[in-house]
């Protein structure tokens, strides 16, 4: 059986599955149940200075997709609304009772050095394994010049990280906001400030929907709405992209990454790890189904690793990074063509109408509702294969190379092309 032990910036856990800083990690009761269910670690719900903030009632909005609940999830909650001393006492007790699990504490205090210097020793005294700086909360706290307000200004990210590194010996992880144009800017700033790791993504600014009767954005609080932070399965592709950008950045090589955003199964987690994450964090999926999903994730990851011959997480971590390249590095002479298996086809015509109405008119409709790819016309866009309702009926078949591998930089259509043999 595969060894799932995980190490991230020196923080060890029996498996790579941590609960992200959020309600599931908001108090002792929840975290005890989480550890009993098998979670490898938690990032405690973000702590701030006393007096605690207040939360509103009416906190979450959700997007269903064709009957599946919580495809996307929006919240307008702030950080912990309980006194610091209560949280600190609970963290200490749990770390004592579960010494093998990772206990990381998320923090957010005003952007001045004395505030950070004040809270760090209090947290360090809990015996926790590290801290996560919440530079990501995109609502409420950012209006008070915390959270994403820091995360969106690389200079602030670097400055606060440096303060923390100077004031504590605990590993410092910086949690990034996705609400930026270029994720590399805050990531590099965190590294410059001495961060031991970065975690991403926090939530994406969003409005879950609009109530057309009350005319309020959702979630509604007494007839009004505000923007919140979006997470859940819908954000996973966005998170993967940002993770990949950091993982492949030569300037950030070796910076440990904690990946999150829409992870709900072992497969999601494996994808994050393949794209460079040392471990993963989960919030929405746990809030949707309860702590026990971790047992399914552990079992699935372990079986997959056994089947693939990966003895440890390290043996497949980052294997997809080298293949994540800028568009300009892709081979423009590669060709893939759709193929319809006539034995599996049920004649629904969905591929045909999609290609005919909106794409490249590369599917022929023959008498008797038979559909066939016109191979010479097919550009290999994958559309029909994605929307075909029959498993394995339409497959994309890579074609034998007819021309040498070439990128746009070398292509004859490119007026600024590099001529062969001229690169020294």
């Amino acid at each position: 059986m595969a060894d799932l032990r995980c190490s991230l910036a020196g923080i060890r856990s029996p498996n790579p599955f941590w609960l992200a800083s959020a309600p599931p990690t908001d108090k002792e009761y929840n975290v005890r149940r989480a550890f009993a269910a098998g979670w490898g670690g938690v990032v405690w719900k973000t702590l701030g200075l006393d007096p605690p903030i207040v939360n509103v009632s009416g906190r979450y909005g959700a997007v269903s997709h064709q009957g599946r609940r919580l495809a996307g999830f929006t919240n307008i909650e702030l950080i912990s609304d309980r006194p610091l001393a209560t949280n600190v006492a609970e963290i200490k007790r749990i770390k004592r009772d579960f010494p093998d699990r990772a206990m990381v504490v998320s923090l957010m205090v005003p952007c001045d050095e004395p505030s950070w210097r004040a809270i760090l020793p209090i947290v360090e005294a809990t015996g926790c394994d590290g801290i996560e700086l919440n530079f990501g909360c995109p609502h409420g706290m950012s209006e008070r010049n915390m959270g994403a307000a820091i995360g969106q200004v690389p200079e602030y990210v670097e400055m606060v990280t440096r303060w923390c590194k100077a004031a504590t010996r605990m590993p410092v992880m910086v949690k990034l906001t996705p609400n930026v144009t270029d994720i590399l800017a805050p990531a590099r700033a965190a590294a410059a400030g001495g961060a031991d790791a970065v975690s991403l993504i926090n939530t994406i600014q969003s409005i879950a929907g609009v109530d057309l009767d009350a005319m309020t954005p959702l979630p509604a609080v007494d007839g009004q709405g505000t923007h919140g932070g979006y997470c859940g399965p819908a954000v996973r592709p966005i998170a993967l992209r940002m993770l990949g950008d950091i993982a492949r950045d030569p300037a950030l090589r070796g910076l440990p990454l904690s990946g999150m955003g829409g992870i709900g199964t072992w497969r999601d987690a494996a994808e994050f790890i393949a794209l460079g994450a040392a471990g993963v964090q989960v919030c929405t999926a746990a809030m949707h189904h309860g702590h026990r999903i971790v047992a399914d994730m552990i079992d699935g990851l372990s079986n997959w690793m056994d089947a693939k011959g990966h003895a440890t997480l390290e043996s497949f971590r980052g294997l997809a990074v080298a293949n994540y390249v800028p568009w300009g590095s892709l081979n423009v002479n590669f060709r893939t063509v759709a193929h319809i298996d006539p034995d599996l086809c049920i004649s629904c015509g969905k591929c045909y109408v999609a290609c005919e109405d909106t794409s490249h008119q590369s599917i022929a409709k023959l008498p008797g509702r038979l559909y066939r790819i016109i191979e010479d016309e097919c550009v290999g866009c994958n559309l029909c294969a994605h929307l075909c309702p029959v498993e394995r009926c339409i497959t994309m078949v890579p074609q034998p190379a007819t021309a040498a591998r070439a990128t746009w930089a070398e292509h004859s259509n490119n007026p600024h092309r590099t001529l062969p043999g001229t690169v020294r």
Binding site: R68, T265, R267, A295, D296, D299, G300, N303, E391
Partner: protein, 450 residues
């Protein structure tokens, strides 16, 4: 009236249908889900907390977990989840009356009368693992203890498997030349087609540590006393070893047969075209065995098949699903039909006569022509095999071996489960009994050596 037909065409005849028709009739009644269908069906599961389906499964399989593992592509983990609770999970996926067990409890049944197809999904996962041929469990270190299991049906084999897993050695004493119990001899052929029962048995035995001795019948070849002396514990999984009969004719008539024996002959016949069946068949009884006998007679080529139940239709013990299936297969079910006598000619049955006078029935004699009458009025356990002597006879209650919650009988070190004890006569219940007994035996042996 002399039966002239008998001279020219035998009333019981084999090979009424050609090989192609027979093959189709006795193949898989419910085809498996495709991979895509399984994903769509798995996505219907809500992954309930404290899921009612788990409670409704006698073996308490963690159903939401195994379905989640199908959904996330972890078929191996899914099958292990099933088999860790129920080692006969593949057979149960095919034979369990899910409509009165897990699927009735599914919250989607309450919500929209359309449960998640748990049985079909269970089959999807277990078939995938069985195709690999890899047994998923390993044995604990050998304990040096040895347990005798009497009866190689679902109860006995489930007990043997769990004991072997826990490190004990097991010898199974099986009366018949093939083990498997009613999975091999009783359950309808189209539910466990081909050699499924033996394939599954082979898969289960791959755990190691289990020896099966065939043609060893307790009460004939071996005694309970001796088994108790030579083993650290004994488990009795004897099933029903007798059938109830009806005295309807002064002398035996050809064409009258016990339904379980008819099914057993049919199950053991490699070539179904050698099994004789009547043209007009009446099955007496109202349980699932009656349905199975009627369905299989029909699938052998009988043209008119009737199930005659003595009481009110709603009292039939066959599940509604099985009754509907029989009706849509062209089988007539007549209630209020208490048999009074069999009519015969030249030693061969020609008709069955009922008491008559039931609701909606006329007042004259109620006679149904038949050239085959199958009796399915219940199986029972006969404790006569234990012989005499206080150390050889466990206490009985209501005709079955009396056991406690841990499946222990009144005799120290002797456990029992399955159809020979009280409880539902279902494969899944037999498996649970065997598993519980193994855990009790293990606890007893460990306490003794501690």
């Amino acid at each position: 009236m002399a039966d002239t037909l008998a001279a020219t065409e035998p009333r019981l005849r084999a090979g009424r249908l050609d090989a192609g028709a027979l093959a189709a009739n006795f193949s898989d009644a419910h085809p498996p889900l495709s991979a895509g269908q399984a994903l769509v069906e798995a996505a219907r599961c809500y992954y309930c907390h404290d899921a009612p389906c788990i409670e409704a499964c006698p073996t308490a399989i963690d159903i939401p977990a195994f379905i989640a593992r199908i959904a996330d592509g972890n078929l191996r983990g899914s099958a292990e989840t099933i088999l860790s609770a129920n080692i006969f999970g593949a057979a149960c996926a095919r034979v369990c009356p899910t409509e009165i067990l897990c699927e009735r409890a599914c919250v989607r049944t309450a919500q929209e009368h359309a449960p998640v197809r748990i049985g079909a999904l269970q089959r999807h996962a277990t078939d995938a693992l069985m195709r690999t041929g890899v047994h998923p469990f390993a044995r604990a270190p050998e304990t040096g203890r040895h347990v005798a299991v009497v009866g190689g049906g679902p109860a006995g084999i489930a007990c043997a498997h769990r004991l072997a897993m826990l490190g004990h050695g097991v010898t199974v004493y099986e009366a018949r030349p093939r083990a498997g119990g009613l999975n091999e001899h009783g359950v309808a052929a189209y539910k466990l087609p081909g050699d499924f029962a033996q394939d599954e048995l082979d898969f289960i035995l791959r755990i190691g540590g289990i020896t099966i001795l065939h043609d060893r019948r307790l009460g004939r070849d071996i005694g309970l006393d001796a088994l108790r002396r030579t083993h650290d514990a004994v488990f009795l999984g004897l099933g029903h070893n007798a059938v109830r009969s009806l005295a309807l004719s002064p002398e035996p008539l050809a064409g009258v047969q016990d339904a379980v024996a008819f099914i057993e002959d049919l199950r053991q016949a490699a070539d179904k075209s050698t099994v004789a069946v009547g043209d007009r068949v009446v099955v007496v009884g109202g349980g699932n065995t009656a349905i199975d006998a009627a369905m299989q007679a029909s699938r052998l080529g009988a043209r008119a098949v009737t199930i005659a139940y003595r009481g009110a239709p709603e009292l039939m013990s066959a599940t509604r699903f099985e009754q509907d299936w029989a009706r849509t297969s062209g089988i007539r079910i007549r209630a209020w039909s208490n048999p009074r006598a069999l009519h015969g000619a030249a030693g061969q049955v020609t008709a069955i006569e009922f008491d008559g006078g039931g609701p909606g029935q006329g007042h004259g004699p109620d006679i149904e022509p038949a050239d085959m009458v199958l009796i399915a009025v219940g199986q029972r356990f006969d404790g006569g095999l234990f012989g005499a002597g206080p150390s050889a006879v466990p206490a009985m209650a209501a005709g079955r071996i009396l056991v406690d919650a841990g499946q222990a009988t009144s005799l120290p070190g002797v456990y029992a489960g399955g159809d020979c004890t009280a409880g539902a006569d279902l494969t899944v219940q037999a498996v649970q009994d065997g598993k519980v007994a193994a855990l009790s035996i293990d606890a007893m042996l460990r306490a003794a050596s501690a």
